[in-house]
């Protein structure tokens, strides 16, 4: 199953970054597919990006809300929030585990042999702060003399934007290099920090600073597809604790907001068939696993 997940991640990465004409055009894709919302964090200024980044779009819409309202345009970001809300209701943070290109990059870096470190749980609240402050409040509230805000998260934090868009664009368009300053240096340091941290800890960006992951985390209890724990079968052996890339103690907290449904606990750890994948309450039968009885689920 892990191999399948890797292929799905690769496929989704190519799907969101499928425009490979940029070496010739030296610019980004500008076709109609960019009206489609990317499920994962994928900068829309990446030369190969075929979809829009929901976090980037929300910030852009909120930062220009005053102008829009003055022109009777009610661009509150409803279509963007609606799109990621539907995805969140269906999959929740399963998207982080299966469809996010930046999550995939972090997973690959974590495979580099080194001493590994845990991430303190308290840092996981950081991503909610970034979602509320940097994506919503600051772009909306901090405005210049003309009433225009800024995309705070994209501008000051997002390492995915630096890696997928900033560096490629600087390589492709030499005239942009003259504009590189402290702002880019700040983002470059943040990117290097997270990429370096990914070698030593599992998915540090997803767990501490990703606002999209924070949004999907809100759906952990109500998403359609999620893992289910059969408490009658669980022996509390804690094997699921050891394999989780997000350090979730699944048998203690089956609806944990950090669970990315990578299925490692179900396939690699649990020998007692206590963990099943379910869709809307109906468990899926996976090869080699027997379904628990309906009464146990209830």
């Amino acid at each position: 199953m892990e191999t399948v997940r890797k292929w799905v991640q690769l496929f989704m990465g190519f799907l969101m970054n499928g425009s490979w004409s940029f070496p010739f055009t030296r610019s980004i894709y500008q076709g109609p597919l960019k009206v489609i919302c990317a499920p994962g964090l994928n900068c829309y200024s990446c030369p190969a990006a075929t979809t829009y980044c929901p976090m980037g779009s929300i910030q852009q819409l909120l930062s220009g809300l005053r102008f829009a309202l003055e022109n009777s345009q009610f661009y509150f970001g409803l279509s963007v929030v609606g799109a990621i809300g539907v995805l969140g209701g269906l999959f929740g943070r399963m998207i982080c585990g299966w469809a996010c290109p930046f999550g995939f990059i972090q997973e690959l870096l974590y495979k580099i042999p080194s001493k590994k470190f845990r991430i303190p749980r308290i840092l996981s609240y950081g991503k909610f702060m970034f979602l509320i402050m940097f994506v919503i409040v600051l772009p909306l509230v901090v405005v210049d003399d003309f009433g225009a805000g800024q995309p705070w998260y994209c501008k000051f934090v997002c390492p995915a934007g630096t890696l997928e868009a900033g560096i490629p664009m600087l390589l492709m368009q030499p005239n942009l290099r003259a504009t590189v300053g402290l702002l880019f240096f700040n983002k470059f340091v943040i990117m290097i920090t997270f990429l370096g941290w990914s070698v030593f800890s599992s998915r540090p960006f997803c767990r501490t600073a990703c606002p999209l992951g924070a949004f999907y985390a809100l759906f952990s209890k109500v998403r359609l597809i999620k893992l289910h724990l059969d408490e009658a079968k669980c022996t509390n052996c804690k094997a699921c604790h050891l394999v989780c890339p997000m350090e979730v103690k699944f048998n203690e907290s089956p609806d944990d907001y950090e669970c990315i449904s990578c299925l490692a606990c179900m396939n690699k750890a649990c020998k007692f068939d206590a963990i099943t994948l379910e869709i809307g309450g109906i468990p899926l039968e996976t090869p080699g696993k027997r379904l628990p009885s309906p009464s146990k689920i209830a």
Binding site: S45, L78, G85, G88, K155, M169, L183, R223, I282, I297
Partner: protein, 57 residues
């Protein structure tokens, strides 16, 4: 008749309705956003290189 019905009910998996309500709610939001013409604005932004987004501007 009664026991048969209850047996049938016991064998059914309990369907979770909350996700369907959440998905419906966000689907309505998405439709409302589309009705205001927001996707055109999103597209307009997405096809331009956002310099501040990539840390240059």
């Amino acid at each position: 008749m009664t026991p048969r019905t209850s047996t049938r009910k016991q064998n059914k998996w309990p369907i979770r309705k909350a996700p369907l309500a959440v998905i419906s709610f966000f689907l309505l939001l998405w439709l409302a956003g589309n009705a205001t013409g927001e996707p055109a604005r999103v597209l307009e932004q997405a096809i331009r290189v956002c310099l501040s987004c990539i840390g240059i501007g």
